[in-house]
């Protein structure tokens, strides 16, 4: 029998194993490279739009989270060959998905822009012809994509709560009196991380604290800045306790290792690369070795617990299957944001 109703619970975060399971279903092996390329392009594209519209960086961050979340539950494919169905291929276009993400992120971050204004800027950047008919169609497609996105997010806008990672990073820096140079380093790392799915796995405060711990270990004294900085108190690191920041320790550890891995693999593409000299002062080697050293130092950290997650169980978990949008058009889809409520309903 066809399903006519569904009940799903909002899950802002997924464990790394769940992420790779979801990706294995939505991104074919042959498309992995192109998916990553597209993600970089989309990121640059959104960044340009954000610059023209003077939006704050937190909007970019949220947009990238939404964009990546979309491809956990929708198959990544680009049907550019089939010109017969324009609407369908527009719907599949990752750039349109990214615009829907941006539009929704603007609303959630309280920096409201009309969709029309976003589209005018977006099309100009892509050198698209701006014809009234085209914009009208694009608007329709993007509003449709936005609705899909909302269902994937289970209409839960609490995900980002009232603070974003960038402001938390700064607040934590100020709390422990970190100097200008180290704080800038943290801010740059946070910017680099917007390209990664770390925001799908970990909450903002744990990412922020992980970044700060990395900066204290990395000691970025050779970061090129215009402002002079005072020295950093060596004791900060020893007295840093994740509990003081209300961060579950394992999640912070997960963040630390994730960030180190990211720089070990993608340092050359990172923004940090533009700010640090090629050779690390302490090691007299390239910067990447510093990250590798730290990685071996931190290798024994206890990270995210994934005991109960194995392949067979994942397959049985309906909430991790492709999102079925047809249920809500034929019957009812309901969304709940507390696990406790869900368990009560099932009983």
């Amino acid at each position: 029998m066809e399903k006519t109703s569904s009940l799903s619970i909002s899950r802002p975060y997924y464990s790394p194993k769940e992420l790779s399971y979801l990706h294995s279903k939505t991104i074919a092996d042959s498309k992995k490279v192109i998916y990553n390329q597209r993600k970089h392009q989309v990121y640059q594209y959104l960044f340009q739009i954000i610059k023209v519209l003077k939006l704050p960086l937190k909007v970019l961050n949220t947009s990238m989270i939404y964009y990546q979340k979309f491809y956990l539950f929708n198959i990544f494919e680009e049907e550019f060959e089939d010109f017969s169905n324009i609407e369908k291929s527009m719907e599949l276009d990752p750039f349109n998905v990214s615009l829907a993400s941006l539009f929704l992120a603007c609303k959630n971050e309280d920096c409201i822009k009309k969709l029309r204004d976003i589209l005018l800027v977006a099309n100009k950047i892509k050198d698209n012809q701006i014809e009234e008919n085209f914009i009208e169609l694009q608007r329709k497609i993007i509003l449709g994509l936005e609705f899909k996105l909302l269902q994937i997010l289970q209409f839960n806008f609490n995900n980002q709560i009232s603070f974003s990672t960038d402001s938390l990073v700064l607040q934590f820096c100020k709390k422990i009196n970190l100097n200008y140079k180290y704080s800038l380093f943290c801010w740059l790392v946070n910017f680099d991380l917007m390209l990664t799915p770390i925001g799908l796995t970990l909450p903002p405060h744990c990412i922020a604290l992980a970044i700060i711990i990395i900066s204290l270990n990395f000691k970025p004294n050779d970061l090129k800045t215009r402002e002079l900085s005072s020295g950093v108190n060596e004791n900060i690191l020893d007295s840093l306790n994740p509990k003081d920041f209300k961060c579950p320790e394992k999640l912070v550890n997960e963040g630390i290792l994730y960030i180190l891995d990211f720089y070990i693999h993608q340092y050359n593409l990172s923004i940090l690369n533009n700010y640090l000299p090629q050779i690390n002062e302490d090691l007299n080697k390239e910067q990447i070795f510093k990250f590798m050293n730290l990685k071996s130092k931190f290798n024994n950290l206890r990270t995210l617990n994934e005991h109960s997650i194995d392949g067979n169980l994942l397959k049985q978990d309906e909430s991790l299957s492709l999102f079925d949008y047809s249920i809500s058009s034929k019957g009812t889809s309901r969304f709940i944001n507390k696990r406790k409520r869900l368990l009560e309903e099932i009983d």
Binding site: R11, P12, Y13, Y14, S15, K51, K54, L55, P56, L57, D110, C111, I112, D117, N158, I161, S162, F163, D166, S167, L170, Q171, K174, K175, N177, Y180, S183, L184, W187, L188, F191, P203, H205, T225, R226, E227, F245, K246, C247, P248, K250, L251, I271, N274, L304, N305, E306, H307, S308, I309, N337, K338, R339, K340
Partner: protein, 300 residues
């Protein structure tokens, strides 16, 4: 564009103005671009404010336009290679007190808060310190004198607020003085109404509620439709006022993120949290940890 054509077009823009950012900026930019015709365009702004057939809602929007126009003229002219030399600012500034009374005529003070917000922006743009008046604004509920309180008991109307021609103060300061008087007037009227007009307890039809088709409806009183439009407009206004809170100005032609952005919008913007704020932040985070914990299948 000759002066006649510019003026015609400008009038069309003014008549169809709405409080969205686009509409306000478009009109302001048109005026600035045609700065050579300021002698024609500036009086058009006054004309529309003097026109008794123009709704007060529109006049409130015009006041917001003045706010935007002063700001844009200032920003554009302050630019290093700018070809403009602060058009409209002088004219608008000296007419401010008189304009203010047109937007808040007689005892109709429902544009009060919008005028307050715009006047505050204008003062900020013109770098005039008005913190003293802002304080008075917030305190004016306590500002009624003993005599005035007695007048309320006697059901006497509050005197009309009029322009003091003899005043030699800066026009912006004069405008603030008038606004504070208006604020008092509005508060006084409210107390008087509460005291002397018994509340109606019986059911009222919509027509009665909005004085539709009765002679009772005084000039400048809003109809239902106008009230609904106004709610829509104020939403736009609110959105616009928020925009100034988040706009990030970045250096032109910059690639990637810049240290300037970090300096201006992060390092200098964030102060160490006070004890109470920090406590509140960590309480929120603690609460959020429950959501986080619920999101993973295993205990973390």
């Amino acid at each position: 564009m000759d002066s006649f054509e510019a003026n015609t077009q400008f009038n069309q823009l003014l008549r169809s103005i709405n409080p969205s950012v686009q509409s306000l900026k478009k009109t302001a930019h048109f005026a600035i671009k045609n700065w050579e015709n300021e002698d024609y365009l500036f009086p058009s702004i006054l004309d529309i404010l003097n026109d008794i057939h123009v709704e007060l809602n529109t006049k409130s929007t015009i006041f917001q336009l003045i706010d935007v126009l002063i700001n844009e003229s200032f920003t554009i002219s302050a630019h290093k290679d700018s070809a403009y030399s602060y058009p409209y600012i002088n004219n608008l500034k000296s007419a401010l007190p008189q304009i203010l009374l047109k937007v808040l005529p007689g005892h109709n003070n429902y544009n009060l808060y919008n005028v307050f917000n715009s006047l505050r922006n204008i003062s900020k743009t013109l770098k005039i310190d008005t913190s003293e008046y802002e304080q008075q604004w917030n305190l004016s509920s306590e500002m009624l004198s003993k005599e005035e309180m007695e007048n309320i008991d006697l059901n006497l109307p509050y005197p009309e607020v009029v322009l003091d021609d003899a005043s030699s103060n800066d026009p912006v300061v004069q405008a603030w003085e008038l606004l504070i008087k208006k604020r008092k007037q509005s508060f006084y009227d409210r107390l008087r109404l509460l005291k002397h007009q018994p509340p109606k307890t019986e059911d009222l039809s919509e027509d009665e509620m909005f004085y539709v088709n009765t002679k009772e409806r005084a000039h400048n009183q809003l109809t239902k439709k106008q009230i609904l439009l106004r709610m829509e407009d104020d939403r736009e206004t609110h959105k616009r006022s928020k925009e100034s809170l988040w706009v990030v100005e970045r250096p032109k032609n910059s690639v990637g993120v810049t240290e300037e952005e970090f300096m201006g919008f992060y390092w200098n913007k964030f102060d160490k949290l006070s004890k109470e704020d920090e406590k509140a932040l960590f309480e929120t985070l603690e609460g959020y940890n429950e959501v986080v914990a619920g999101s993973y299948k295993d205990v973390q």
